[in-house]
């Protein structure tokens, strides 16, 4: 079946079965590989994207459920690493292997949309869906606070 998707402001028509996870459509059909496969069961957060601004696990979201909505992936966060979270992530040297970081940043972006000045507890609650095997958690916390400061000038 053909599905019309809006990803990062661009329109795509993809051929897939309706139950195909959005993750694989984004990666294999559209070719945006920043969104990662980690578990396939919504338990690691590596596949996190935004749908209509809301944090969503793309590995358990059917492509048919994403039609007509605005999908944002890590590639759509900014053109040039200028999003406050990207600036903060670089300044705090957050990533190690980097594999989970797209999902971490997208989860953090959804948090800051809802709560521009989160506490450590807010961060822990919002970010505990996302696994980092390199253990960058402390730096993620710091970077989210820093991004909040940057965004608020």
């Amino acid at each position: 079946m053909a599905f019309d998707l809006n990803v990062n402001g661009a329109s795509y028509t993809v051929d897939a079965e309706p139950e195909t996870p959005l993750l694989w459509v984004i990666r294999d059909s559209i070719g945006l590989t920043g969104t990662k496969y980690g578990c396939g069961i919504a338990k690691c957060g590596a596949c996190t994207v935004h749908i209509d601004g809301k944090k969503t696990f793309s590995c358990t979201t059917k492509v048919s459920a994403a039609v007509g909505k605005e999908i944002t992936t890590i590639e759509g966060l900014s053109e040039d690493n200028s999003h406050p979270l990207q600036i903060a992530w670089i300044e705090e040297d957050v990533p190690q292997c980097g594999y989970c970081q797209s999902g971490q940043i997208m989860a953090a972006a959804a948090l800051l949309e809802q709560n521009p000045n989160p506490s450590d507890l807010n961060i822990d609650t919002a970010m505990s869906d996302n696994i980092c095997r390199c253990g960058t958690y402390s730096r993620i916390r710091k970077a989210i606070h820093r991004a909040a400061d940057i965004a608020q000038g």
Binding site: E17, D28, S29, G34, Q86, S128
Partner: protein, 762 residues
């Protein structure tokens, strides 16, 4: 597609069609193109002048440094170029990094200048040690990378000296500029001439007191690519004409696929083909527990389904009727394996014990002692749980093979692929990608052999992805290990005799039996034999091997990862039995000149060590040496009356001798603590009917941000000639530091990991 045949690497696209009908493209984002590392880290710049195999200088004076180690988070794409740049004396801001090529390493031996300098043997590959493991990136490549930079610098100076009619000693090389008197020029202008220079003797490399770049925490070169999705991992590989494979092999290692019915799914959309793997199917080396080569990378019996998209392949694979023959290990469980080991452990006269260390007469003293403390410890099998599931993309033709994979050992990937493809090594190209962690798992190359076999059978480029479940079931596990300790205690609480027996699944016996020494696996007794930090007048250490049907492998910090839990817990038990402070007790068992003292004292001081805390709060110590580095840790925990454990802080003191990038070391300490704490709290692979059951993150639990303790790193550097590793050595002390703190807080002694199996309610 003539160019495609000439150099397929240049044609990796980031937008292919497969299921979606998108156009092919060869798109590299402009921002990434200008970055210090390409998003595809194997892509080298064009048009520069190679001065030696390690570095290329462009006319614009930018320097591309080739990295022989694999970037899996530890920072080699920054640290390795720093080692070269320190000596080259180029402008650090002009440095770019790319992977060194395994294919060239297979075709070319060490360059003559490197041999002349004594930094390589003639028979070494041009990139020398391309395997990333054993915490060896800095300590084992420092000399030759420094030499590459120094020798290039002196050639640049000589080239300038020749042009300017002066002595080389009159030319200075600083910050990418050559100058002498009124003459001044960029490195780039003399790079071509420098490449042709021979020197009478090669320059000596700097000593640490001469460093101007090393020791500084410069920004990691890979970070900008890892905040926008641009970094390409193996799983992100896209090659024109590529199809996708989903695979399932016997869930019991060594079992076989009895039958499958491809006809039932072959008409589903996008399905192209299916191949039986291993026995009776494709592949040149079948998995077989009886032969070393077969069990290391041999192809497990199973099936691959090929489709035009991964999800179509996976769905068809899962729907396809399959019958499995579990074989002779279908009744095995984790408890049956460990219970068998514990039986051996309980019988000191078992004939399969071999002595790993022996001083005095420990058995005799213990037999005659009036007071003896005994304890048994158990650590389980663990899986690496790399964030990026295992995958490999391969294209095998009659005259060339290409492998795209994130691997810790490109030359080994190359030789495995060459063997499977039936091609000489010089016709095989391994394109290493960023690794979504490795932890040792990506040293094995079993996924490479499987992918090469599928690609050879299919003829077109194939991307093979293992699901998380398949990745876990096809794990190459950290062995279980069991320990028995007995120590005599004299009237003063002093342990006069110490006897430790260990029974474990041996990695060396599994894959490198030639490394066993009189029955001893040196990794399985790491830190317990003569390397034990503590001195006992009488000491006996015995080791016996009890393997199972599971494939085992190196897992971040290897034997030390579990041995430290056992010995550091037992030392804590001895201290409490003696009524002594655990810190003072440890120090009392160390020789005056022990290099363990300082890290231990630093960790204790920085943590504000005290045994005098109220109930529900505790501090605990862990100490270990691994890969040439000592790490001492103090954990501070709280345990509520309802048994809720919180690890509040961990103070890490580290003596790795010297440091080239303090922040990278701090990051590795934090990473090691999370890795060690995850294993201590949750890590346990269960086996039922021969099958690993904890196959995804719903069951195989990982530490999350809300459980993250504050980690404080303290350098306790001894300097001098000591260069220790940093990627692994801070893993082992975590578990005992935490369990000893739990004992201090609750009086509950944890002798079997993981912690989550224990009731801590007070």
């Amino acid at each position: 597609m003539t160019n495609f045949e000439m150099d397929r690497r240049k044609f990796i696209s980031t937008a292919t069609s497969a299921a979606g009908g998108m156009m092919l493209g060869f798109h590299i984002p402009a921002a990434a193109n200008a970055a210090a590392i390409m998003d595809e880290p194997w892509m080298a710049g064009e048009g520069g002048q190679e001065v030696n195999a390690w570095l290329v200088i462009d006319p614009d004076n930018s320097v591309t440094i080739r990295v022989g180690q694999s970037e899996m988070g530890e920072g080699v794409f920054t640290g390795m170029p720093m080692l070269v740049a320190e000596e080259l004396q180029c402008d650090w801001s002009s440095v770019k990094a790319v992977y060194a090529e395994a294919n060239r390493n297979a075709r070319q031996t060490a360059e003559p200048y490197m041999v002349a300098a004594g930094a390589a043997k003639e028979t070494d590959g041009v990139y020398q040690r391309m395997s990333t493991g054993g915490s060896g990136a800095v300590r084992r490549s420092r000399l030759y990378l420094s030499q590459a930079g120094a020798s290039a610098r002196e050639r640049l100076k000589q080239a300038a000296a020749n042009a300017w009619g002066v002595e080389r000693s009159a030319v200075s090389a600083e910050n990418g500029m050559l100058s002498s008197g009124s003459n001044s020029s960029t490195f780039g202008e003399f790079a071509g001439a420098a490449a042709a220079i021979s020197l009478e003797s090669e320059p000596a490399i700097k000593t640490p007191d001469q460093y101007t770049l090393l020791g500084k925490s410069v920004a990691r070169l890979d970070t900008p690519l890892k905040v926008n999705g641009a970094a390409v991992y193996g799983i992100d590989t896209q090659v024109p004409g590529m199809v996708y494979a989903a695979v399932e092999v016997s869930p019991v290692p060594g079992g076989r696929l009895a039958s499958y019915d491809f006809d039932a799914v072959k008409d589903r959309p996008g399905i192209i083909a299916a191949y039986r793997l291993g026995e009776g199917g494709i592949g040149s080396l079948n998995y077989n527990l009886d032969e070393v080569a077969n069990r290391v990378t041999g192809i497990q019996s199973g099936v691959a389904v090929i489709a035009d998209s991964y999800y179509r392949a996976l769905t068809a694979l899962q729907l396809m009727p399959k019958q499995w023959d579990a074989g002779e290990h279908g009744n095995v469980s984790d408890s049956s394996i460990i219970d068998s080991a514990l039986e051996v452990l309980a019988n000191p006269d078992d004939s399969t014990f071999n002595p790993a260390d022996s001083v005095g007469d420990a058995r005799g003293v213990i037999a005659d002692a009036s007071s003896v403390l005994e304890a048994t410890y158990v650590t389980p099998y663990l899986e690496h749980a790399c964030m990026e599931p295992m995958n490999c993309t391969a294209h095998v033709t009659p005259d060339r093979a290409d492998i795209w994979v994130g691997t810790q050992n490109p030359p080994r990937a190359l030789s495995v692929a060459a063997e499977e493809a039936g091609l000489p090594e010089e016709k095989v190209y391994v394109h290493n990608a960023f690794l979504g962690t490795g932890f040792g798992r990506r040293l094995r190359q079993d996924e490479v052999r499987q992918a090469a076999a599928i690609a050879k059978a299919h003829g077109e480029p194939v991307k093979v992805i293992w699901t998380r479940e398949e990745t876990t079931r096809q794990g190459k596990f950290r062995p279980y290990s069991t320990y028995h300790f007995a120590a005599s205690i004299d009237a003063d609480g002093k342990p006069e005799a110490y006897w430790n027996r260990i029974v474990s699944h041996s990695i060396f016996n599994h894959q490198l039996p030639q490394y066993l020494q009189e029955g001893i696996d040196g990794q399985a007794v790491e830190g317990l034999d003569e390397r034990l930090p503590y001195h006992f007048p009488n000491k006996q250490v015995d080791y016996a091997i009890r393997d199972s049907h599971l494939p085992v492998h190196w897992w971040r910090s290897v034997g030390a990862s579990q041995n430290a839990f056992a010995i550091e817990s037992f030392i804590d038990e001895l201290a409490h039995a003696a009524g002594a402070d655990p810190l003072e007790f440890r120090l009392s068992l160390m020789p005056e000149d022990s290099e363990f003292r300082r890290p231990l004292e630093v960790a204790a001081k920085e943590a504000g060590w005290t045994a005098d805390l109220r109930r529900g709060e505790g501090m605990g110590i862990g100490l270990a040496e691994a890969f040439g580095t000592i790490s001492a840790q103090v954990a501070y925990v709280t345990v509520s009356r309802r048994g809720q454990l919180r690890v509040e802080t961990i103070d890490v003191a580290v003596d790795c001798g010297n440091v080239i990038h303090p922040k990278l070391v701090e990051m590795q300490m934090e990473s090691s603590v999370v890795f060690g704490l995850t294993a201590a709290l949750y890590g346990e692979i269960h086996i039922r009917n021969g099958v690993v059951v904890d196959d995804n993150f719903d069951q195989y639990q990982m530490l999350r941000i809300n459980e993250m303790p504050e980690v404080r790193t303290h350098f306790a550097l001894s300097g001098g000639d000591k260069w220790g590793g940093v990627g692994e050595p801070a893993v082992p002390p975590v578990a005992p530091a935490v369990t000893n703190a739990i004992f201090a807080a609750t009086g509950k002694r944890i002798r079997r990991l993981p912690i989550r199996n224990h009731d801590l309610t007070g």
